[in-house]
């Protein structure tokens, strides 16, 4: 039974999107991609270092994984648009993970710059995946300007704090007409499962895997968690109740 992630009319495949940042070596990236079964990985655009050997792009190509360039480090819409345009030139993709953050301490999205950049990039023909706050109204505005997905954070990037406002994630999911990707904050497998149970279409994570003590093992755990959470969402969980409800028959009881 096929249950693949589809974005902008294109089949992505795995519902686990992997960031490649934070890994200690290309070898580890190679291992976590294999263990995660991911179909889509993010990369960043940086100055060429001619002394570097081996490109992350070679590793992604080896696994047949699609590349999603990000605009990490950008503080303004102008910087983010230029970075996205350079990524499109370098990587020949019009997909972009749009990040416009406010400062280094929080790495939280700057809503005003983000929306401005999203609008400009959509107008320029990009398929925009915005990393956004867990704000249902901002998510709505990003969809209205034509983003192909919305990617609310669970918690700040790299914090591993999990999903701090599950209710807001549910609100975003409830009105979304594009895929919702829980992006940032995942610390361990249960966080990824919860994201899927809340109705997210996919999970994007990096540090939780690349900085785990055993990255490949955690990548496998995340793949299982995303799959389990997705199944549970589709299965339909029982409602939470204040009081117990017996699962054994309450009729036919012996009089003892």
């Amino acid at each position: 039974m096929s249950d693949e992630l589809v974005v902008a009319g294109e089949k992505v495949g795995s519902r686990l999107i992997l960031g490649t940042g934070g890994a200690p070596s290309m070898q580890v990236i190679d291992e976590v991609i294999a263990a995660s079964g991911t179909s889509l990985c993010t990369v960043s655009m940086r100055r060429v270092d001619p002394s570097t050997t081996g490109s992350v792009l070679d590793v992604l190509a080896h696994h047949g994984v699609r590349v999603l360039p990000n605009t990490a480090g950008c503080r303004t819409a102008r910087e983010a648009v230029l970075t996205a345009q350079l990524a499109r030139e370098a990587l020949e993709t019009d997909w972009v993970k749009l990040e416009v953050v406010a400062d280094d301490d929080t790495l939280l999205p700057d809503a005003v710059e983000l929306l401005d950049a999203a609008e400009r990039l959509v107008a320029d023909g990009f398929k925009v995946f915005p990393y956004t706050n867990d704000d249902p109204i901002l998510a709505r505005r990003l969809q209205r300007v034509g983003c192909v997905a919305v990617m609310p954070l669970g918690a700040p990037i790299g914090s591993g704090l999990g999903i701090l406002n599950p209710h807001n994630i549910e609100l975003i999911v409830a009105e979304a007409e594009v895929p919702v990707v829980l992006d940032a904050g995942v610390g361990t497998a249960s966080d990824a499962a919860l994201a899927m149970e809340l109705g997210c279409d996919a999970v994007l994570l990096a540090s939780a895997v690349t900085r785990a003590q055993q990255p490949a093992l955690m990548a496998a755990a995340m793949a299982s968690a995303v799959a389990a959470g997705r199944l549970a969402r589709r299965a339909g969980r029982i409602p939470k109740r204040e009081h117990a409800r017996a699962s054994s028959p309450t009729t036919g009881m012996a009089v003892l």
Partner: protein, 66 residues
């Protein structure tokens, strides 16, 4: 002429094109994008783009990133 390439000032022959600069600076141009004075320079324009003294060139590529 003096150009600033990825933040470093370097001397280049007058009349050099962007394609000349890329070939002289990088082992490969695969997966590389270039900005000249804050504007994207599409690959197809490199050979015909004559550089001028004082310009700032950024040579970017994909690296590991979340």
């Amino acid at each position: 002429m003096i150009l600033t390439i990825n933040g470093e000032r370097r001397e280049f022959a007058d009349g050099a094109t962007l394609a000349d600069l890329v070939a002289a600076t990088l082992p490969t141009d695969r997966g590389v994008a270039v900005a000249v004075d804050g504007e994207v320079a599409p690959r197809g324009t490199w050979a015909g783009l004559a550089l001028r003294d004082g310009q700032a060139i950024e040579l970017l590529t994909a690296v590991q990133g979340g």
